[in-house]
């Protein structure tokens, strides 16, 4: 989350918005403080604020790569925090094996996500508004359906 905040601050500085960059730095510092003091929900709020600042950054035409990197770092921080606070925190016989697998998968997912993002930035496909709306709606609906499928009861 610290890296995300720092990256965002760089992006906002590049957009000539020092007060917002300062806000991003304060956000990173508060996250560190919350982490050490054990404030509840600090990572959730941190992720939300990073996303909000990223949206501001987009509106200010900031560099996309930095935004993408900031969002990926914030997501990684949120996932790792959730993982550390979840059942894995309690007694685990093979803790390192499971943790390592989780970390590898997370880095893979975020790496692929960033690579795809950059690729789609470089590749330009012209779409009419209706096409964009249709594809966007399909994506939103697909996401909604799959989120239902993720939590399911066993078949047997």
């Amino acid at each position: 989350m610290g890296i995300a905040a720092f990256t965002l601050a760089l992006s906002l500085l590049a957009s000539s918005k020092p007060p917002l960059a300062l806000a991003a730095i304060i956000l990173g510092s508060l996250w560190f403080a919350g982490l050490f003091r054990g404030w509840p929900g600090v990572t959730e709020i941190g992720l939300f604020l990073v996303v909000a600042l990223t949206v501001v950054g987009i509106l200010l035409y900031g560099p996309l790569f930095l935004h993408l990197f900031a969002v990926a770092c914030a997501l990684a921080a949120w996932v790792l925090d959730r993982y550390a606070r979840g059942p894995a925190r309690r007694a685990v016989p093979e803790e390192h094996r499971v943790e390592r697998a989780h970390l590898v998968r997370l880095l893979t997912a975020l790496g692929v996500g960033m690579a795809l993002g950059l690729l789609s930035w470089l590749v330009r496909v012209s779409l009419s508004f209706l096409w964009a709306l249709a594809l966007g709606s399909i994506a939103v609906y697909g996401l909604y359906r799959s989120s239902i499928l993720w939590q399911r009861e066993p078949d047997e």
Partner: protein, 453 residues
């Protein structure tokens, strides 16, 4: 487990913003979220086949003992990247060591074992099925399932060994035992001197008495000792059972009842038990170890309860007990219990009351302010008056400070001869004034009422 909903929500936000602002940077920012969800979904467990067994190292135990539980889960299906195993321990049991929860990866055919040790407390305890969550390595998609059968353990109350308990009921049974019957015959305690009859053994002749009469010989008679019918009544009413941290009055009463029943049965008596609370739990009279097991089982399931009908001790069904048989009541006692107990005594049942002291229990968690000490003094005075009024009615009362061990506390009161037919033998002689500050008979507290000796 990572809930996919927030991740999907952020992806939604970026997609919708892209549509709303017509800016392609926004949907691109949703890619990390989308790939995270997609990878989780692609690697989700499709088929889960698990077998589980739970082994308890005993199915019967005594309160305070430790119990080892082993849980084994075998993966009979394809490999699982993440498996969360969680065992729900029955609430009153406390885990001493080991773990009842694990988060593991299981290859096909591999197994995971959880071992933990519990400190058991009285009661019937049931383990439900094991809760399992099979997930992908990212923890996004989950399959929840339950595994295993129910397991059960019965934890009996602790039985402490009481030595002789002196009781003298009017009615006894025909078999030899340890209860004096007030009738001459074979025995060990001197009872009377009577005229010798043909066939009586000469070694029983009382020569001193016979020498005073020229034409008569007298012989010593001994008191017959028989077994008796004893009914133990455990007061399980909610309002008479105070609770203080881990120690409850009911647990104390149950422990005392178990020890008393065991002592009476060891002496060969016929013992019955009645748990009087939200309902009546009656254990039929019986002898020996089987009866002891029945009583301990009834005490293991004994719970405090509330009932309008059984609110007063008046509803003790005295007809369950043979006439003039000994009744032992284990109760913390309430003010309004005096009347019913006196009436029960008046019907000819000798009563022995073992009363765990709720005042000392509650005083142990009170503060030491002046108000607290005054409240404790008032409560002790009330309780002292209550016990005196019972003793005046010919009811033997033995108090037990539950913060002290059972046997040393009540054994002296139980071993003293108590006929139970009047103040002289009713244990009234033990009703010395007690210091209202510390509860002791002899202390140096100044200003205690009544004055300390």
């Amino acid at each position: 487990m990572i809930r996919p909903t927030p991740v999907a929500a952020y992806a939604f936000v970026f997609l919708l913003l892209g549509l709303a602002l017509l800016r392609r940077e926004s949907p691109i920012l949703s890619f990390p979220f989308l790939t995270y969800l997609a990878l989780g979904y692609l690697r989700a467990p499709r088929r889960v086949q698990l077998r589980g067994t739970r082994t308890l190292d005993a199915h019967q135990s005594t309160e305070g003992d430790t119990l080892q539980v082993t849980l084994s889960v075998v993966n009979a299906g394809p490999a699982l990247e993440g498996l969360h195993v969680r065992e729900s321990i029955p609430v009153p049991l406390q885990r001493r060591s080991g773990s009842s929860e694990a988060w593991v990866r299981l290859a096909s055919g591999e197994d995971v074992q959880l071992r933990y040790t519990l400190r058991v407390s009285r009661g019937f305890h049931r383990w439900g099925p094991v809760r399992l969550i099979a997930t992908d390595a990212l923890g996004i998609s989950a399959i929840r399932l339950s595994l295993g059968r129910l397991s059960e353990i019965v934890v009996f109350p602790e039985v402490q060994r009481l030595k002789a308990i002196r009781i003298r009921p009017r009615a006894t049974r025909m078999y030899s035992g340890m209860v004096p019957t007030r009738r001459g015959g074979p025995g060990v305690e001197f009872f009377d001197v009577g005229a010798i009859l043909p066939g009586d053994p000469l070694h029983r002749v009382n020569w001193r008495a016979s020498s005073r009469h020229l034409d008569l010989l007298f012989m010593n008679e001994f008191e017959q000792e028989r077994v008796a019918d004893i009914g133990i009544v455990v007061d399980a009413r909610n309002r008479s059972n105070a609770v203080s941290q881990e120690l409850t009055m009911l647990n104390a009463s149950v422990r005392a009842a178990a020890s008393l029943a065991s002592a009476f049965l060891q002496d060969g008596n016929r013992v019955a038990m009645l748990v009087y609370g939200g309902h009546l739990d009656w254990t039929y009279p019986g002898y020996g170890k089987t009866q002891q097991q029945r009583i301990l089982t009834a005490l293991a399931r004994c719970r405090a309860g509330e009932s309008e009908y059984f609110d007063q001790l008046d509803q003790i069904p005295s007809r369950l007990f043979p006439p003039h048989s000994q009744i032992v009541l284990v109760s913390p006692l309430l003010k309004e219990d005096v009347g019913p107990l006196v009436r029960l005594r008046a019907r000819g049942y000798p009563l022995l009351v073992i009363t765990p002291d709720p005042v000392s229990l509650e005083a142990s968690v009170f503060g030491r302010t002046t108000d607290d000490l005054l409240a404790v003094r008032i409560a002790r005075t009330e309780r002292s008056l209550l016990i005196r009024s019972l003793r005046r009615a010919g009811i033997r009362c033995t108090e037990w400070d539950v913060t002290q061990p059972l046997v040393p506390s009540i054994q002296p009161g139980l071993s003293r001869p108590g006929h139970g037919f009047g103040p002289s033998g009713s244990g009234y002689e033990h009703a010395q004034p007690r210091c209202l500050s510390c509860g002791g008979h002899r202390c140096l507290h100044v200003g205690a009422l009544p004055p300390c000796i």
